[in-house]
């Protein structure tokens, strides 16, 4: 099953973020760059974490930020931001975060194939450190097994 589109415009390597909010905003900006979300989506992802805590840090070093489908989403999309310096999300087990993924889903019902594709990538326990150390967008697409346009 296929990953949501991950074009090079949605990949940022070695970014600098002062804190988790800045890191999530960078990942939201990358969705805006690829044309899959509007600028307000970053704020929605941040509000999810403010409301529920840092649960998006679902594995050591990895955050999967997302909000609900809604008007800020243009189309299904994924972005990947790797951080030059890890940031803390306040998670009890999985801090610090080196890789932030942002996920935009246009409709609530049809996302499980995309989620399964993400699970496939990261069930390989090396994937997070390989992404964190990637030096090019090509390499990120290869690790993520993205369908190249």
């Amino acid at each position: 099953m296929s990953l949501p589109p991950l074009p090079q415009s949605a990949i940022v390597i070695g970014a600098t973020a002062a804190d988790w909010r800045a890191a999530v905003t960078l990942a939201g900006d990358a969705l805006v760059s690829s044309g899959t979300a509007r600028p307000g989506y970053s704020g929605e992802m941040i509000r999810m974490i403010e409301e529920h805590g840092p649960y998006v840090v679902i594995a050591p070093g990895l955050a999967l930020a997302h909000a609900r489908p809604g008007p800020e989403v243009i189309a299904d999309g994924l972005s990947v931001v790797t951080l030059a310096e890890p940031v803390l999300f306040g998670h009890p087990y999985n801090d610090p975060v080196r890789v932030v993924l942002a996920l935009a889903m246009a409709s609530p019902g049809e996302h499980l194939a995309a989620i399964a594709a993400i699970a496939n990538v990261f069930n390989d326990s090396n994937a997070i450190s390989e992404l964190a150390d990637a030096t090019s967008a090509d390499e990120v697409q290869r690790i993520m097994k993205a369908d190249l346009p």
Binding site: H52, Y55, V56, I58, N94, L103, H111, L112, A119, N123
Partner: protein, 90 residues
């Protein structure tokens, strides 16, 4: 048997847990329905569930339930998931 996975929006992390829980259950030879849901609908969705899989952040919000609430640390670690599910269901 019914297992519910819970996260904030019911699409991202709970979806990952659902996909991986189904994989683990297949390997363990256990038959269960796994449903992903958001924390707002937990009472309704989990009313007839035996197990709730979630992250530590949602335990307080889930509150009192007849289901076993299992906290998963690494959502991609099927070994962790397998051990915790086997302990709860075995």
């Amino acid at each position: 048997m019914k297992i519910v996975t819970i996260c904030g929006a019911g699409i991202g992390s709970s979806g990952i847990l659902k996909v991986n829980a189904e994989r683990v259950l297949r390997k363990l030879g256990l038959d269960a329905t796994v449903v992903a849901a958001d924390i707002g609908s937990v009472r309704e969705v989990a009313a007839d569930a035996q197990v709730i899989l979630t992250s530590a952040e949602f335990v307080d919000a889930i509150g009192k339930t007849f289901a076993d609430v299992i906290i998963i640390e690494n959502f991609f670690d099927t070994t962790e998931l397998s051990a915790k599910l086997e302990a709860a269901l075995g």
